[in-house]
Structures are given as C-alpha cells and as structure tokens.
Point group: none
Chain length 468, copies 2
DNA sequence: GGGTATTTGTCCGTATGTATG
DNA sequence: TCATACATACGGACAAATACC
C-alpha cells in the first residue's frame, strides 16, 4: 500500500492542498511513487492526513490537470506513465550571475563618446506635462494597439517637419515608425526582394553592417573619396542597393556635395535599385549652406530615407522612422503588416503633441545652438593644443569629428595614452569592412554627451597624453 | 434541468446576490419555477453565472428565510409548496437592451476578437503616478540609453515573478527584454546558428510562422494529437528547434501534460537542439492553479522561454522578454549586444516600480478574476444556446476557445453568417501550415477584448445566425 | 453466480479567513 | 469601516465499481 505522509504545516501561508500537491509531485519525481501506481483514495488519504476530503481532492485535481495522474471514476487515481528517469538527472550547474559593475565609465574624467547626446537640455517638464495629458485624455485609446506603421497624427507631424527642415517630400502614408534604425533596417530588408545586393560606404556605420550581415547579405564595401562614396567603384560592383550617410558621412564626416548626390541617384535609377539614406544627424549643421536630402532630390523614387529622434530629442524613447517610396507601399502591406508597431503608443502620442505645439522646433534650435557651441569649444581647444600634430576631419556638422595623427601612431596606442590621462576617445578602424587590414590613425571624438565645461580640459589632457 | 439565467449587472449598485434573489423570486412567481423543483446546486449555478459560490449561497439563504425554498442538507434546495394563486401574476415584459455602438468603424456589435485584451481595468492612475515618479526622480537616468538586454532592476523583478508564478528558473542575466515577441524571435534566430532547422506546431501561431519564414527558414509543421505536438513526427523530422505553446496551445487550447513535456525535453537534448516555449497567456488558468512552465522542468538548458506583458498588462507599452539558457549568453554578447534595447526606458522604469510595489500581483489577480468571469459567462451562454450543435474546445485557460461545428459547415460560411448578425468571429484555418488544404470547421472565439455584458447577447446572436 | 457491503470519485451544503473597493 | 466576493477547508450524500461472502 502506497504511503503518502507529507509534513503538513497548518501554520504555513501555503495552502494545505498545495503542500500536498508538491509533496506528491516530488514523490513521483523521485520514484517513490511509480507509473501505474494507484494513489490512495481521497477518503483514505484525507483520513490518514487528518485533512478534509476536499483538500485532497484539490491536490488530486491539480495533479490530474498537470498530467501526473489520471482519474478513473469510481476506481481511483493512477500515476501516469511518465518518464521518471527525467527527474533523476543532475541539473546542470548554474552559476550565480553577478551584475556587472558599471564603474568603467567613471574611470574616465573626460569621455568623448559619440552616440551619447546632451540630456540636460531635454525639456522634462514639457514632456512630463504632455505625457500626463496623453494618459489622462486618451486613457484607453493610448493604450490600445495602434497602426503597425505608427500613429497617423505623428506621421503627419513628421512629414511636415521633414519637408520644412530637410526638404524631404513624402506623405504620412509613406512613413513607417519603429523602435530604432536597426529595427527599421531589419524590416526594410524583409520587404525587399532578397536578390538585391547591398553596398555600404567603407568605412561606414558598423551597426548597419551588422544588421545586413546578420540577415545573410554579403556587403560590397565601397571606398570613399573626398566627396563621399566612390560612384565608379559602386558602378563597377554588382550592388543594387547602397546605404549612405550623405549629410555627415559616418565616421569621416564628409558632406556629400550635390553633384555626387545626383550621380548616386542616377546610379540607383540605372540599376533599378535603391539608396538607403541614413540622416542620423542631419539636423546638426554648423557651417555653409544646407544641402537638401537625397530623398528631396530624387525624382525616380529610388531613395529610402531613415531618420531618428534618438540624437535630436532623446534616445530612450526609441522613436525612429523610415520613408518608403510610394511604389513600395504595396510591398509593406503584403509582407510587413503582420509586424506590430514597436514604439510605445504613449510616446507616439506625446511626441505628436510635442511637435504640434511647436516644442520640437524650439528644442531643435536650442540643441543646434548648444552643439554648435560645444563644437566651437572643441575645435578651438584643438587648435590651441593639438593643431600642429593632428588634422581635424569632418567639422562641418554632426556630433563628432575625427582627429588624424600626422605622426601616424596607431589607433590603439593613442587610445591607450589618452586613457592614462583619464580621457576616453574612440577608434575608427571598427567601421571598416575588414578592420584587421586597416592601419588607421584617426581617432573619433564625440562631443554630444560631454559637458561643455569639460571639453577644453579634456583636450588639454589629450595634448598631454599625446604630445608630451 | 432548471435553467436560471438572470441578467446580472456588476456595475449596478444592487449587490449581485440581491439581483439573483429577486430574479429567482420572480421566476417562482411567474411559475417558471414550480413547487417541488430542485434549484441548481449552489456550485453549478455559481459556475453557470460566473459568480462566487457565496453569492449564490446568500441568495439561497435569503430565499430560504423568506420561505420560498427549503434547504435539505446534503441534498439541495427545493421550491416550497406554496399556493400558486398567491401571487398576482403579471407577465414580465422583456426589454431588449440594445446598446448601440456609436462608432462607425465598428461594423460589428459583438467582436469576439482574440488578441484584444481588457483595457478598462488597467490601473491608469497608479501607472500615471509611477510614470511621473520615473520622470521626476530619475530625469537624466531614465532618458539615457540603457542596457541592451533591458534594465537590470526590471529583469530582476521579472525573474522573481516568473519563479514564483510560473516555476521558471533563471537569473536576471538570462533575461532579454524587447519590444514584442516577434522582435525577440527575430533576435533569437539571429544569435542561433542558421543551420538549425525549425519546427512548429501545426496549427500554430501564425505570427511566429511569419517571423521564421521571413528569415528564410523552411518550417517543419508538426501535427498535434490530444496531448499536443506529436513527438514521433517531430523525431522523424530533421528539426532541431521547435516552437511550442504548452500552457495553452494556440489555437487549440491543449494543455501539454507532463509526460509529453518530458518527451519533448528529451527530444531537444537528443538532437542537441532547443525548445522555444511561448507562454503567451500562461497566467490565465481558470480551474486550479496555473500549470508550471516547461522551462522549469528543464535540466539540460534546452528551453528558451518567451513571455509578454501585452496580454496581462497592456499591449501598447510593448514589453516582452525571453529567457536564454546560460550557455547561450555568450552567443548573445557576441552577436546581439550591438542591438540596442527597443523598449522605452521610461516604461521599463515604471514597470519595475509597478512590480516592486506589488501592483503587478494585484493587477494580475484582478485580471485573472475578470477573465474567468468572462470565460464563465461565455461558456454558460454557449451551453445555453449552442450546446447541441457545437463542441467547446480548449476552455481550461487562456483568452480564447474554439467552437467546433457538429454539422461541419465551412469556416467561411459560419463567419459570414455571424457577420450578418453583426457578430465577428475568427477563422482557425489560417493557423495551419497549408491553409488551403485544410477543411476546418472550428471557429475562434476570443473573449479578452469584448465587454462582459455583451458576451451573452453575442452568443445569442450567434445561435440565431447559425441555428435558425 | 448472485446478492451485499465496501470503496471509489463526484457532488453537495457549510464555515472561515482574506482580499477588494 | 464595512459589505461583498473569493479561496480554502470541512463533513456528508450519492451512484457506480469492486470485493467479498
């Protein structure tokens, strides 16, 4: 006769039937109770344990639901034919994962990170107020699942802004909102025929390279000359889609002149392909006349435009967008409409209000001024300390510049020396298609995230690190 | 069998048991219920009406006290033998309480959408307050780009919850947060060797099929038997990864018993592959306790667990998560750490607070209760109107059931007939690997999004559409 | 082999503690 | 605070299956 004698704790917060349940489960697992065995009748067990019939019943029913036992009316409960060996396998040892201490960034006094942006200027109070309005007024609406392409009203604001500010011509219908440029690229490659061959600027934005490579594309690296991507090399390749950053080439900072832009558009039209224009920091231009976006120049609908609020507003709300040519909208509907929108509707709603009420324009102007000041401080500091030893590259726009060492010391060397003076600067070799082959002497200096007061001293430290 | 089906109004100031009481009284007065009749047992009626046992008990006790019925211990309640002429019998006019939906876009009065969830219950004020706190206290922190896997503090809360509630064993380091299950699946397939061969339940979740197909995988469809995915067929295939929904198979609602779970885990170990466990609605089980997860049974770290807050909390904040086996963490770091987190940090922070302060547990309990009530109303309505013509499948848990037509009329036919009565129901054929080959007679009925007051009438309309 | 007592799962009404609003 | 509702636990009635004489 099967003995079931769990230690029941009536004072425990755990209900009796749960205690009984887990006891029996364990007995089955350690083979004290074996497949085919008949469990004691509910009454007998209840009696034996001094609990109510219903308590046992609850436990038995749950065992039944989980498949451990099977009930045969008026006969009994029988242990199911499960593989009891399973539970005697020693679990793989699990190590306690400790949280990585993120003290690394504190090791540096001056961090010229690119990618990081200015956060102090973010209009917290306005954003907070609009967020509240969104939660309050909309309630249910805001928390429903919305349009997979993003809310129409927000797309409308974006279309207006882009036309005014970047010369982009599009209707809201062409805009697809998504959580980050990487994600949008992923969507884009899915909706395009896989037979397209991708090309990228070399050097170029590494995250884009990763997205495309991860999707199984072998990327044709196209070198740059002083005006950006080499059209001749591109033309000689078998590429049919090319990813470019014409406003401020990453990382070199080259601004693609209008002539090259038109050549590029012609190429796309000839090969019946596409240009992916990533305007990741096109809002920030400090000298010279603004050059219209490739998309705005395009008469053949060959440009897919990518933009983001991560640099200009705030990274953490994760709002980016892409603009599809009209003739690709059918593709989108066919292939991507099952993919749900990835940006929080609350943020979409808040952002739409933010733009509609003019806060966006105000904010953008403010940021432009601020970054220009930072950039000026950076450049003047460099002129003060590093002028004779380093060349500044790509200072016309964006949130970073390159410093090229006349002495041609290695990138890793320069970074290490800076580190010893508590200054963090960044490599450029990783942006090349074949990093190991590159002998790179340029250092990436971002000024988006660093405090304006620290720039001058940071550069002075760099001079001490690199010149002494 | 005596049918007692009052229209209960939970929003009314009148307590439920009072409503029930007066309804039964009236039924006795108009001789719908006659002397000597046995009232339904308290348990049965409670189940039928979707109310607690005690609610019925209160009503019955009051009837007893007033002399309408007599209680015979351990037998039942019997209507007392009173003079039938005692009451002035007047016909009760049944008013058609037609709630007109003013929304033009809602062509359907009754939409049994699966996927939609209850939004009225979302704790707006708490969420709003926590959102404010997050914006206020953290300021810069909250708007910075964070950990690509998601904030540690949130992952910690999720790990605790999953262990307690779903038996999932993991450390926060194994958790990856992302904007939706589809996106996480995309990440997952990227970090796994492309030579893995994917299998899915057939029928199975169509969005998953799309994600995998879009990534170029040819999916092996594995049929189901009554215990879920067929292990033999799976074993005979060349698959090395299989996607399953063991808690509540989509769409059939099968709960995978322990035996099949172990077989599945053994298979994964033998082929050195993985099981993707999508626990999309595992929180919602209506009889007994929730079934522990597959992940918790796994001793060899072959299970990748997927979960989401979209069903249980709110879809629009886009928070889902996956749990990787420890030995895959290296893969993640190598291949995916360049992919930025897609969930808004503000929402992550708010959610973390929400969970930490116990609101999550409260909310989950509330939702469980609500959905159970909805499900009970749905089932009892079906029993009332459709019992003889349709079989209910998968009613143990989740937010949907299947209705299988005994007459084997075509799916499209049934949907069309329902449409003519302004009821929207959904097909199941689309969840099959080769929909055109399927002759499907099951209809998908979701009850997550429909208002509880509309369920009964919606089913009644269905009966008119399908039976007249 | 047939009748009967016993055992069984299932269902029933009841009581108590606790969460919810 | 208080009414309401639910989870848990209790003891007994029923009919079917089984064991026993």
């Amino acid at each position: 006769m099967l003995e079931i004698t769990p230690l029941l704790d009536r004072t425990s917060k755990e209900p009796l039937f749960v205690q009984l349940l887990s006891y029996i489960k364990k007995q089955i697992q350690i083979e004290k109770i074996r497949p085919g065995d008949k469990l004691p009748s509910k009454r007998k067990l209840a009696n034996h344990l001094g609990v109510s019939l219903n308590t046992v019943e609850n436990a038995y029913q749950q065992l039944n639901a989980e498949g451990y036992v099977q009930s045969i009316p008026r006969e009994g409960f029988f242990v199911a034919d499960i593989d009891e060996d399973w539970f005697n396998i020693r679990p793989v040892k699990r190590k306690e994962m400790e949280r990585k201490t993120s003290n690394k960034k504190d090791m540096y006094k001056y961090d010229f990170n690119h990618g990081k942006v200015e956060l102090d200027q973010f209009p917290y109070s306005v954003w907070k107020r609009l967020t509240l309005e969104s939660i309050d007024k909309q309630q249910k609406e805001v928390f429903l699942n919305g349009d997979p392409k993003g809310e129409w009203s927000l797309r409308n604001e974006i279309a207006n802004y882009l036309f005014q500010s970047r010369g982009v011509k599009c209707s809201p219908a062409q805009i697809v909102i998504g959580a980050g440029t990487q994600y949008l690229l992923h969507l884009l490659t899915m909706m395009l025929d896989p037979s397209y061959v991708y090309a990228m600027e070399d050097p170029g934005f590494h995250r884009t390279r990763r997205v495309l490579e991860d999707k199984g594309h072998l990327i044709r690296p196209i070198p740059l000359n002083k005006n950006g991507i080499c059209i001749d090399t591109l033309r000689a390749s078998d590429a049919t889609i090319t990813y470019v950053t014409p406003s401020h080439q990453f990382p070199t900072g080259i601004i693609m002149p209008i002539k090259r832009r038109i050549e590029l558009l012609k190429w796309a039209n000839e090969v019946n392909g596409y240009i992916i224009e990533d305007d990741y920091d096109g809002e920030f231009r400090y000298k010279g006349k603004p050059i219209p976006s490739l998309q705005g120049l395009d008469n053949w609908d060959r440009v897919i435009y990518l933009g983001t609020f991560s640099k200009s507003l705030i990274p953490s709300i994760r709002v980016s967008y892409m603009i599809l040519p009209e003739h690709l909208l059918g593709n989108y509907e066919n292939k991507l409409s099952v993919y749900k929108q990835t940006v929080s509707k609350l943020h979409q709603d808040t952002l739409q209000k933010f733009m509609k009420n003019g806060h966006w324009e105000t904010h953008l102007n403010k940021m432009r001024r601020l970054y220009r000041r930072k950039q000026e401080v950076l450049i003047s500091s460099i002129n003060e300390y590093l002028k004779d030893n380093f060349e500044v590259i790509g200072e016309q726009s964006g949130l970073h510049i390159l410093l090229s060492d006349y002495r041609r010391r290695s990138e890793q060397n320069l970074i290490q020396m800076a580190k010893e003076h508590s200054v963090k600067v960044y490599p450029t070799s990783i942006y090349y298609n074949a990093p190991h082959k590159i002998n790179e002497h340029s250092i990436l200096i971002g000024f988006g995230g660093i405090n304006i007061e620290n720039i001058h001293e940071g550069v002075r430290q760099l001079s001490k690190a690199w010149l002494d």
